[in-house]
């Protein structure tokens, strides 16, 4: 190697200032030398050294004992009776055993290296990082030769067409991966249209409001003053998990509350969206989508627990506090001829958080 014929290279300063600098330093600050070596108590006192050695091997043997204890605990505390306390005990004792075993190994190893192993400092000289000038010139020459021999820099058309081919070969992958997204099917005509999926819920005109999760219908007379009833559409209750139950439920959940009709402030065009003081609002928060179900019966406020948006149920669930930007969408309801609560129509706006195409 090039540096073998220069034995004093590591002692030469790696950077020589060129003449012409404004400040010529005659007595530069020397880098601080190592502090004087301080003797440890284990080096000075053989009794302390024996004590440290005893500590280390005791800790290692303790680790062995803890590993054996972990195995014993696994058998002594089986999870058999079905009582929860079994799980607790098994977890705790096996965990203590394994944890103590590993911790003892770590502490013993560190204590050995700090207190017992030699702590004399060594200095290893290091080559200057900047290469010698001849080496640098040779490297530059090698690259220049490679360029000349391959003709890469000279043959411009070949080079540009190669770059075009490599870039174009990635294009099919981009398009084909896009094809993995869901597509519209006859069974689900909006499966490939995310905007339509966000805008539509299972609620349609005439759909009965049923209890979540049993699916039993709700009579208007059952909802008494101060009640908060958790509601899903009737056809959702029959959907299986493989058929998209959770995806549909996340949009369709509704909270039904009953207030005194005189407490409700309703605009004339929405006057028939409630039924004798019973109102239904989407449970999906318009902020990030948590279910807003903390209903305070006396103040008629709905609180979302995630970011503490508050909605006033007496005034079309408008936002009275917190980061939500829009009131909760209201589900228009009425009763059918048997007295059960049904939806007059679906939601008239998308539920849940904002998205770009919302307006």
């Amino acid at each position: 190697m090039a540096h073998e014929d220069d034995p004093l290279e590591h002692e030469r300063a790696s950077w020589n200032p060129s003449p012409g600098l404004a400040v010529a330093v005659s007595d530069p600050v020397e880098p601080p030398a190592l502090p004087p070596h301080r003797e440890r108590v284990t080096d000075k006192d053989p009794v302390a050294m024996k004590h440290a050695v005893r500590t280390v091997y005791t800790l290692f043997y303790l680790s062995v004992a803890a590993s054996i204890w972990a195995i014993a605990a696994y058998m002594l505390f089986p999870i058999e009776s079905g009582a929860i306390v079994d799980i607790r005990n098994n977890n705790m004792f096996v965990g203590l055993g394994i944890g103590l075993a590993l911790l003892a190994i770590g502490i013993a190893a560190i204590h050995w290296s700090k207190a017992i192993m030699s702590d004399k400092e060594h200095i290893e000289p290091r080559h200057a990082t900047r290469g010698r000038d001849t080496t640098r010139a040779a490297a530059v020459q090698a690259f220049s030769d490679a360029n000349d021999d391959s003709g890469f820099g000279r043959r411009v058309v070949i080079r540009n067409s190669m770059i075009a081919a490599v870039v174009a070969s990635l294009a099919p992958a981009v398009v084909l991966f896009r094809g993995l997204a869901p597509e519209n099917t006859p069974a689900n005509p909006i499966a490939g249209d995310p905007v339509a999926l966000l805008e539509e819920t299972m609620w349609t005109a005439g759909m009965r409001l049923v209890h979540d999760p049993e699916g039993t219908p709700i009579r208007a007379a059952d909802v008494t003053l101060g009640s908060a009833v958790h509601v899903i559409p009737e056809s959702l209750a029959e959907l299986g998990h493989a058929e998209g139950y959770l995806e549909q439920k996340a949009k369709a959940i509704v909270l039904v509350m009953r207030l005194l009709p005189e407490d409700l402030i309703e605009s004339p065009e929405k006057a028939d969206w409630s039924y004798e003081g019973i109102v239904a609002y989407s449970k999906v928060c318009t902020h990030v989508g948590c279910p807003v179900a903390l209903y305070e019966q006396q103040t008629h406020h709905l609180l979302c627990p995630c970011h503490q948006s508050q909605f006033d149920v007496t005034d079309a669930a408008k936002v009275i506090f917190g980061p939500a930007a829009r009131p909760l969408p209201q589900l228009p309801i009425t009763i059918d001829d048997e007295g059960y609560l049904i939806a007059r129509s679906g939601f008239t706006e998308p539920v849940g958080p904002s998205f770009w195409e919302r307006h």
């Binding site: 607790r88 019966q297 006396q298 103040t299």
Partner: protein
């Protein structure tokens, strides 16, 4: 020699004298108070009559509750009317100590009950007789033998948003809160669901049937009786308490260990 004897012939007090004097004084006063209050408690026990009637309940009501709730339950500017609240609500509110309310606050706090069980039942019977409302449930509803899994699902859908999924309680707006249910009796669980105290919504028997309520009560009693399977549950408050614990003790311990590893051995 004088130096080696420990006698204090010059009359100086022992350094322990002050502590001994304070200790004796505390023992005397504490013992006297304990004896006096025990005598008082024994005294009041023998004075209570057994089997209070509706009339006794009326007298208790008029003495303790009528200033806010009106002599005929009609209410006043300081308290709502009690028409139709029923014996269940009275038992719940007075037995948990929420009533008599001692100070206005966003929410009536739970405190030690001020009446005996018999007095509460007498007042409840009086209120029920004046204007009937929700009544006590059957024994079977409170027996805790319902379907715990179904009860837990109903609790999750209807109750967990305010009371926390492990019934550890939660905050509402402006100083209100949903209390923890770790020490609540089955009757009070039922009473709160049916009567909807203060800002809690009402869960009548058509929203949650009696069987649903029995299942929910069973699930909550199961939670009360069974320890958390994961060990120290840190109040079942979830990420907040767990994060606090691990950031203070866990990360703190790791930092301490790191400092120890890199420090020079002495």
């Amino acid at each position: 020699m004088a130096r080696e004897t420990k006698r204090r012939s010059n009359g100086r007090r022992s350094p322990w004298a002050a502590a001994a004097l304070i200790g004796i004084g505390l023992l005397i006063t504490g013992g006297a108070y304990a004896g006096a209050s025990a005598a008082m408690a024994a005294g009041t026990d023998t004075a209570v009559a057994s089997g209070l009637t509706v009339d006794d309940g009326k007298k208790l009501f008029q003495a303790n509750c009528a200033t806010c709730h009106g002599l005929n339950l009609e209410g006043s500017t300081t308290g709502p009317s009690l028409y139709g609240v029923g014996e269940l609500a009275v038992e719940f509110q007075v037995s948990t100590g929420r009533m008599p309310l001692q100070a206005t606050a966003p929410q009536a706090p739970q405190k030690p009950a001020q009446f005996t069980e018999e007095q509460i039942l007498a007042m409840a019977a009086y209120v029920q007789s004046q204007a009937p409302g929700p009544t006590f449930p059957s024994e079977q509803t409170l027996d805790g033998e319902g379907d715990v899994a179904r009860g837990a699902e109903l609790f999750r859908v209807n109750c967990a948003m305010c009371h926390n999924v492990a019934a550890a309680g939660g905050a509402l707006t402006e100083g209100k809160y949903a209390p923890a249910l770790g020490t609540t009796s089955a009757l009070h669980m039922y009473g709160a669901m049916v009567t909807g105290p203060q800002n809690m919504p009402v869960f009548n028997d058509l929203t949650l049937t009696t069987e649903d309520k029995r299942d929910i009560i069973s699930a909550l009693l199961f939670l009360q009786q069974n320890e958390s399977p994961g060990g120290f549950s840190l109040g079942s408050l979830g990420p907040v308490s767990e994060g606090l614990f691990i950031w203070i003790f866990g990360i703190g311990g790791l930092i301490a260990i790191t400092v120890w590893i890199t420090a020079k051995s002495n």
